[in-house]
Amino acid sequence: MKIKIEYYGIPRQRVGIASEVYEFDQEEMEIHDVILAVARKHPEFQRNCMAGDRLNQHLTVNLNGTRFYQTENGTARDGDALLILSMDAGG
């Protein structure tokens, strides 16, 4: 399956790109495992955006521009877009 990862704000600064597509063998995957794959690929992301094996508490994940999955407990399926962004939307 293919998952598009979109980076916003600080994650984009660290990874250096706006988006990329990941290919996995499974039909569906835990969001947490997708995040771990991103962290494995991008050492800067691992260093700056993760706290242990989770996103740091100031970042969050959104699936397809709809629901947030801050605890990374959700399922991503083929064709989904996973947005990684700041929790803080203060303006």
Binding site: H58, G65, M87, D88, A89, G91
Partner: protein, 599 residues
């Protein structure tokens, strides 16, 4: 732990100064500890003083109206982001309570005059500078400053008065009583709700303050330690977004989530949003970062722009970009930055300016306003409209009253799409896509506002479905509002809020170190609630009715064009408002339980 005894005064001066600018007379009034423990300072204290002076009775632009500059117990302490002050008055835009905050040296110098607040009433005979030197008050002529923008006014005052003074000034918009004129200080603004017009109506072009009366701290060592710890945390990931990209980082995120208000709130995304992102601006412009006084975060991102052919600069925030960009359907970076610069020049709130102009653009499009030049997407029209507002010429006279008044003037039920609540234009959070925030906007005491309610935080969490609100979210909205009320009264910058683990407990700890009090987290929550209740009480006395706690009709009857799942109907909003009122301990309609507060 040692607790201060009643004769010890730390953190506060325990008094405020009342100045009648009609006569120039000043009088000092005591402030009791029990009042300060409830109202804290800043917004809370300012609202309390307005209640005492029955400011709800008076037309906000009349000579009887009062305006308060309220400092706070933390001002002057080593705690990061604490150099702030609140300006509180009845708003000429909404007729309700208005508290707007600004940062910097005016807060430090103002508190050193020896007072916790300055309350100004009356009307000077001619344009004046109100000078407060250690509590000694004089009025000096300001005719030579009339018509000058805020920045030049400050420059001239600095030359005339010297570096020891700090200044709060109004620009031409304040002098012309534009209902959303700001009060400026060092390039920052007490922006929303028209406090600049209130000062202008008093013929006060500028306030100059100087003083050497510092308050003591109860536990200096403990405070320094806490301040170090807080500063350390302020360098961490919680504030990274603000430091590196500024609030403008919201543009692309909000656009992707369809909550970037576009074309007068008809859509939640803008196809050219990328042009207005900080990433795009950083690629083509020089940028520098700046901090308010006593701030370790430094969220202010200043970009280079040409103005009248000369190199200049402008501060950029998400709210400026949204209101002067997508809301008016303008994607040209330079046009938007220049529009923001123009708002600074005149001393205009960018949100209300953009909101009112975008509304007028839609009225033109629908044939209700015969100004064919004023079209969505026209940068030239945007600039022209800002000039007309700032100079109070032709259409600018109507635009200067805000979108609600303009809709009333135009009729044809244009009020149904005027982007305002209680007369205050909505900030850049599309309510149909962020429905806890929709509730926060509807019930906000100063109108639609993202600084007094942080309910968007709830929408950005996994606890709720942001496009399908449930009444259980009302409690979460109350919590964010309480936090904001405390932050605006202590005062600390909201961009710091992510660093706290136990917010109210840490607020209590900071306040105790400063004052020697022994408050706990629970008492801080009660104080926050008391502040919100006092604002509500003010509004009730000034004529508030439950019908005001709503959103523009179009937002309750029409889905977002580009996200048809983002629907908010009247029944849902009414249920949310009712749940919010009950959660606050008010009656279902929103009146306080004490029947004496009913009109």
């Amino acid at each position: 732990m040692r607790v201060a005894n009643v004769s010890e005064a730390h953190g506060y001066h325990y008094r405020y100064l009342e100045i009648d600018v009609t006569s120039g007379a000043a009088s000092c009034h005591p402030l009791q500890a029990d009042v300060l423990q409830q109202m804290i300072g800043g917004s809370g204290l300012g609202t309390h003083l307005l209640m005492e002076h029955e400011a709800w009775k008076h037309d906000p632009l009349s000579s009887q109206a009062s305006i308060v500059f309220a400092f706070s117990p933390l001002v002057g302490s080593p705690l990061t982001t604490s150099a702030k002050f609140a300006v509180v008055s009845r708003s000429p835009l909404t007729g309700r309570i208005n508290d707007s905050l600004a940062s910097s040296r005016f807060a430090l110098a103002g508190k050193r005059t020896g007072y916790d607040a300055l309350l100004i009433t009356g009307r000077a005979e001619s344009p004046s500078i109100l000078v407060i030197d250690n509590g000694h008050v004089t009025l000096q002529p300001a005719d030579h400053l009339c018509g000058l923008p805020a920045e030049q006014t400050e420059q001239q005052l600095r030359t005339a008065f010297g570096q020891e003074y700090s200044f709060a000034v109004i620009g031409p918009a304040g002098e012309h009583l534009v209902r959303y004129a700001t009060i400026s200080h060092s390039g920052r603004h007490a922006g929303r709700g028209g406090s600049g017009a209130v000062l202008g109506s008093k013929n006060i072009k500028a306030i100059a303050v100087r003083g050497d009366q510092r308050t003591s701290w109860f536990d200096t060592q403990g405070l320094v330690q806490q301040a170090r710890n807080l500063s350390q945390r302020s360098f961490g990931p919680a504030t990274e977004k603000y430091r590196e990209l500024g609030t403008a980082a919201n543009v692309l995120v909000f656009n992707r989530l369809h909550c970037l208000p576009t074309r007068n709130f008809q859509k939640g995304s803008f196809e050219n949003a990328e042009n207005l992102s900080p990433e795009a601006m950083n690629a083509v412009r020089d940028k520098m970062r700046e901090s308010c006084a006593a701030c370790t975060i430094g969220c202010t991102h200043i970009y280079s722009i040409p103005v009248d052919g000369k190199p200049s600069q402008t501060r950029i925030e998400y709210e400026n970009l949204f209101a002067l960009g997508p809301l008016c359907e303008i994607s040209d970076q330079q046009i938007v930055l220049q529009a923001s610069h123009l708002c600074d020049h005149y001393g205009l709130d960018t949100i209300s300016t953009g909101g009112t102009i975008a509304f007028a653009m839609e009225c033109v499009e629908q044939g209700y306003l015969q100004e064919p030049w004023l079209r969505f997407g026209s940068g030239e029209a945007l600039h022209k409209a800002i000039h007309l507002i700032g100079q109070q010429k032709s259409l600018g006279i109507s635009l200067a009253k805000g979108s609600r008044a303009l809709a009333m003037e135009l009729g044809h039920n244009t009020i149904s799409f005027a982007p305002q609540v209680k007369g205050l234009e909505l900030p850049g959070y599309e309510p149909r896509a962020l429905q806890t925030m929709a509730l926060g906007f509807a019930v906000g005491t100063r109108g639609a506002d993202h600084n007094r309610s942080g309910a968007y935080e709830v929408d950005f969490s996994e606890h709720v479905d942001r496009r399908h609100a449930k009444v259980s979210q009302a409690r979460l909205a109350v919590e964010t509002e309480n936090k904001a009320a405390m932050m605006d009264s202590l005062i600390l910058c909201k961009f710091l809020r992510g660093v706290f683990d136990d917010y109210f407990a840490e607020c209590a700890s900071m306040l105790n170190l400063v004052t020697g009090w022994n408050l706990n987290a629970e008492q801080m929550v009660r104080a926050a609630e008391a502040i919100v209740n006092t604002k509500k009480h003010f509004n009730i006395l000034s004529g508030w009715t439950p019908a005001e706690d709503t959103l523009p009709e179009r937002m309750l009857t029409t889905a977002l064009e580009d996200d048809t799942d983002a629907v908010l109907n009247r029944q849902t909003l009414e249920a949310l408002v009712k749940a919010y009122n009950l959660e606050r301990g008010w009656d279902e309609a929103g009146f306080l339980p004490d029947s004496s507060t009913r009109p």
